[in-house]
């Protein structure tokens, strides 16, 4: 029971980090970046290459992977989404799906479909054993990382000038421009941050499930998107809560109900929450005076 809870929280923490990326980009650019999951996959491969082919130590490999993903995120935004800034949201959504397949197929060409055995890069502290329960080092690192990231993002958006500018852009791009805020640069920064986080998520995900293939990112990407919606898309604590709830629910469903049905149960939970509270668990209430 407790074992399932812990592995659920661990998986949920990875979802949470991915969901934070979704929520940041949605909150500021008002678009669903469906390629976000595939950036995770690229992050995994980048870290894999750095660690296995180049023989770099894990921390360097992680930083390398973050750099690659950050650049990738900025490029995707510049090349695919920026030209569509004034297009309908449907056009942007379809483009995002296109980018997702593009990344998967590029990975297929570069790394083939043969699974790569990902070296665990998140086991540099000892595991904790309490009675007959073992909390693996990867689990501990994953949970700590997600909490740190959530706190850092919250502080960033509430305290820094750039973070406040992001919130301003998210509300009213025109008014933000009148303040002297460079809207394009702000959106670019958002993509950079979201993609950098995706790299971390990629490393943590592959450390826990070391089977790296070009579609590694797609299912966790969709689950994390679900988590972001569940928690209230646009909300940072919401992404965190949604991610962890989803992870725990998935693990419990696998353990007590059915492995095959676990995904269906997870999405059913999403539907129920959205029926009861359409803005998600911690979704922002829009206050407007008339």
């Amino acid at each position: 029971m407790l074992n399932y809870l812990i592995s659920g929280i661990s998986l949920g923490s990875v979802y949470a980090i991915i969901a934070l990326g979704y929520t940041m980009v949605y909150g500021i650019a008002k678009m669903l970046n469906f390629a976000h999951g595939d950036v995770i996959m690229v992050g995994g491969y980048a870290a894999f290459c750095a660690g296995t082919y180049f023989g770099w130590p894990a921390p360097v490999a992680v930083v390398f992977s973050m750099c690659i993903c950050t650049i990738l995120g900025i490029l995707i935004e510049k090349l695919a989404y920026k030209p569509l800034r004034n297009a309908t949201s449907l056009a942007v959504l379809i483009t995002a799906i296109g980018v997702s397949y593009f990344l998967q197929n590029m990975a297929l060409i570069i790394w083939t479909s043969n699974p790569k055995a990902f070296p665990n890069m998140a086991n540099f502290i000892p595991s904790i054993i309490v009675g007959d329960i073992t909390i693996s080092s990867t689990t501990i690192i994953t949970i700590i990382a997600s909490v740190i990231i959530m706190i850092a993002l919250t502080l960033f958006t509430s305290k820094t000038k750039m973070g406040k500018a992001m919130r301003a852009v998210s509300e009213d791009k025109g008014a933000a421009q009148l303040m002297g805020i460079n809207v394009n640069a702000t959106i670019s920064t958002t993509f950079a941050i979201g993609s950098g986080l995706a790299a971390i998520a990629g490393v943590l995900l592959c450390s826990a499930y070391p089977n790296l293939v070009p579609t590694t990112g797609s299912m966790p990407g969709i689950k994390a998107f679900t988590a972001a919606v569940l928690g209230g898309i646009g909300s940072i604590p919401g992404a965190m809560l949604g991610g962890i709830l989803l992870g725990v629910l998935e693990k419990f469903a696998q353990a007590y109900i059915s492995t095959q049905l676990s995904d269906a149960i997870v999405f059913a939970a999403l539907i129920i929450v959205l029926i009861v509270k359409p803005s998600g668990l911690l979704g922002k209430k829009i206050q407007e005076k008339v």
């Binding site: 919130r167 509300e171 303040m179 005076k289």
Partner: protein, 237 residues
């Protein structure tokens, strides 16, 4: 003769295929209050939005402090020394009052911001009382004060105000006009767009009358207040 601060010449602006501004020219001299009056859809807001860089003119020039602004993106125009307090206030509803003011000073170095915030609080004591509240919880009048305070945070030489009295109770309208006069007395040049033509003309040094994208009349505020056609069309006879 005072120096010309803003000179707009032969400006043409389109929304898609709609010709919204048809070759208008006007100027604002240093230290003046200039107002654009006209009916809904005459092109008053479009003119201001074009000067602020939010809309791109098809032809024409916008010269501010001897520099042509056409083609400069909106976010770089604030730094030139002009601020637009937009129609409908457009404060950031989910940001606090203080954060809204900080955004107004986005282009200025961080160490100067605190002083400017104090200056705005002196002008609008209500904002000081509510500095922690998110702007969405403010009343309409307070939001207008916040929008004006936010525009002031960039220390503009030219302040453009788009319908500052819109939707406010008469007592608040008077208050807003007092504040505009006060800003002007402190040396800010003002370009004002108003539907409340009587009040706008009363405080304006000069005024232009817009009708369907063209300037049809201009003169000093006093002249236009007593002009028959203006009286008939905008001052209720």
């Amino acid at each position: 003769m005072a120096k010309t601060l803003l000179k707009v010449e032969d400006l043409n602006v389109y929304y898609g295929s709609i010709h919204a501004i048809k070759g208008i020219s006007f100027e604002v001299n240093e230290g003046e209050i200039v107002t654009l009056i006209g009916a809904n859809g005459a092109g008053k807001s479009t003119s201001l939005n074009t000067v602020a860089g939010l809309l791109k003119p098809k032809t024409g020039s916008i010269v501010f402090k001897d520099k042509n602004l056409v083609g400069i993106p909106a976010h770089k125009i604030v730094k030139q020394g002009m601020a637009l307090c937009p129609e409908g206030r457009r404060v950031f509803l989910q940001l606090s009052v203080k954060e809204n003011l900080e955004m107004g000073a986005y282009t200025r170095p961080g160490r100067e911001v605190a002083d400017s915030i104090e200056m705005v609080y002196d002008l609008f004591p209500r904002l000081k009382e509510r500095y922690k509240q998110v702007a969405g919880t403010l009343s309409g009048g307070e939001q207008q004060m916040l929008a004006m305070g936010r525009a002031l945070m960039s220390k503009p030489e030219l302040m453009m105000l788009d319908e500052p009295s819109m939707g406010l109770a008469p007592i608040l309208v008077d208050q807003i006009f007092d504040i505009i006069k006060n800003l002007h007395a402190h040396g800010t040049t003002i370009l004002l767009v108003e539907q409340n033509a009587r009040k706008a003309l009363a405080i304006a040094d000069r005024a232009y009358v817009l009708e369907t994208g063209k300037i049809v009349n201009s003169g000093s505020g006093k002249e236009l207040l007593s002009d028959d056609s203006v009286k008939k069309a905008y001052l209720g006879g």
